[in-house]
Symmetry: C2
Subunit: 364 residues, 2 copies
């Protein structure tokens, strides 16, 4: 199959750009002696996770237990589930997962949930690795003494093993301006590293401090005490990152190349408007900006419902006709990928492979 034959709307991956992005990230973390556990919430695709592992990643983060179950079933190991496991039913599933993939790490931020995890692991005859999720504005327990209390509960639990700290700071990732981003990340990661020291001073070894993101990876890679980075978006490169400024103060953040696109077909034309076959069900809509036509700055996309987009051709240098194909950068990669069952991996215009997005929708 070639690019022009892919049924639309469809998700495309430019393998050259993807490979370049992986090389940029793996070189950076290796140069700083850090590990890399890329966040698979971005791609939800076992083949991409395996490629990252072959490039040197220690495994994959997942946001949800349901995603981790899918990756484990596809032989991906080194899993870290980054959202706390809450409730008895999910604790039982986490224990079952530890049987299948014993190096899996889950996180907790609450002593009561630690108790549920311990009982579930006991019932399952499993030993479950649990890290403490640190709070930097969303989920987790506050760094310092509150985190120590949760770590002590894990270390004291007969069926659990304390695995370390998760120190993801969502705010650092999308802060505007290199200096502001560096200041934010340095401050919050300083608290994470201090918490690690506090734990070790209390006799709790802390083998992992997992942190970082596509927006802050260069800062985080250089911070002593963090052991690994867990960025996700760098493989595809969200257009949102183009707005936050480069790591060294450049206007644009161009460490990574856009690798993901959505291809559509023009299905109807009226005057200066062309309608394509991709709308709310083909692109994530959570950003305040619309899909961006690739190589066609003369066209402007507007939402036109669940299944349609409206291209404004008033400034078009070439008019669109019914049957024409048009590619777009999605406003936000992660939730866009979550709309598709497969991704077409392209080398130039050749479809080298079609990969299943096996963890799509596995939000439970």
């Amino acid at each position: 199959m070639i690019r022009a034959e892919i049924p639309t709307p469809a998700l495309l991956l430019d393998l050259d750009a993807f490979d370049a992005n992986v090389t940029t990230m793996t070189r950076c973390v290796a140069a700083h002696g850090k590990g890399l556990r890329p966040h698979a919430k971005t791609h939800k695709c076992p083949e991409i996770a395996r490629r990252l592992v072959r490039a040197g990643a220690a495994g994959a983060c997942t946001a949800k237990l349901g995603e981790a179950e899918v990756f484990a079933a596809h032989d991906v190991r080194g899993l870290l589930v980054t959202t706390a496991i809450v409730g008895e039913a999910k604790a039982a599933r986490a224990a079952a997962l530890a049987h299948l993939a014993p190096d899996t790490i889950v996180v907790a931020d609450d002593v009561h949930q630690v108790g549920l995890l311990d009982r579930a692991a006991g019932h399952a005859g499993a030993r479950l690795r649990v890290a403490v999720d640190l709070y930097f504005g969303r989920t987790g327990v506050a760094p310092g003494a509150p985190a120590l209390a949760v770590a002590q509960a894990i270390a004291a639990a007969p069926h659990l093993e304390f695995a370390g700290l998760q120190a993801y700071d969502a705010t650092a990732s999308h802060t505007f301006g290199a200096e502001a981003r560096r200041a934010r990340s340095t401050a919050t990661m300083g608290e994470a590293v201090a918490t690690r020291s506090l734990l070790e001073a209390h006799g709790i070894p802390c083998p992992m401090v997992s942190a970082g993101s596509t927006g802050s990876y260069r800062v985080d890679a250089a911070i002593d005490g963090l052991t690994e980075l867990q960025p996700g978006s760098f493989i595809f490169m969200d257009t949102d990152y183009l707005r936050i400024g480069g790591p060294d103060g450049e206007a644009a953040y161009d460490d990574f190349r856009p690798a993901l696109s959505v291809v559509t077909t023009v299905v109807s034309v009226h005057g200066d408007e062309a309608i394509v076959d991709g709308g709310y069900k083909s692109f994530a809509t959570d950003r305040p900006f619309a899909p961006l036509p690739v190589d066609r700055p003369d066209l402007v996309y507007g939402w036109a419902g669940d299944e349609h987009g409206r291209l404004d051709m008033r400034r078009a240098t070439r008019r669109l006709a019914v049957g024409d194909r048009l590619e777009f950068r999605a406003p936000h990669c992660d939730p866009t990928v979550n709309l598709y069952d497969e991704i077409h991996a392209l080398r130039g215009d050749d479809v080298e492979a079609v990969w299943t997005i096996a963890a799509r929708g596995k939000s439970q």
Copy 2:
């Protein structure tokens, strides 16, 4: 399974509300001697399509060929694909579908595409039923003479059969105020009915004029010359419709009951904020309003990323704790359903069934 045991985030259907909505719609169209072909882009679920047929529907509309292929494979008949089939590959698939489900109708708005459909049907040895899609602001060909030209091309094509007109007017559905909505729908549907007369005056029988929506169904049901209605959202009832005003001038549009919700779990609590396990990947985000907590007007949801929502508890009459479950009305039902692989059908608090959303993501 009971409601409290469903792993979160999950999609729930209140069967009592669903049944009441179906009864309201089927009674209205029956009273006016109209047919009903509910739009399955809303639910993408073969079991729901079958229930609607048992309640009197003539079949199901689908937005895309890929959805129709799934419904046909699940023995749903009376399919109408409401977006034009564009290109040779999709024309070939449409012809193959006509073999499996011969009463399927596809639409066209362009003479060139009619030629592609005819050649594809000829190659497949199929007879393909094709309706003309009329333009009321998005896709389609202009009513009157331009539509006649496309209908004549279909009628003259050796392997095609002219099936009628599709006259969906997206603008009428969401127009604010009963009188404005009535005026809009009466005007555009008047053009559709006049086009039907024009075709018949040119010797082209027009067995179907399919139109209407949840917002305009009462107006459309009373218009002579339309043969059937194709509403979708009435089964779930989008919160957006609460804003447009009732059909008889009431402030609220309450012909239909909200039947769809998303259940989440609180995973972390900090001060006056509780974090639930549903974000951009659990709710459609294309509306300018957020998920609405069911029976908890004292709580306000704010987006907190792909996997999380943030509940503001500053006015909470009861505080949330980790492990609590919270249900929401989605901002927009159709693209929310498209995020899930299954829907939990509840009778009270009992899960009566779990239905597969088999056409989820089948946008091609």
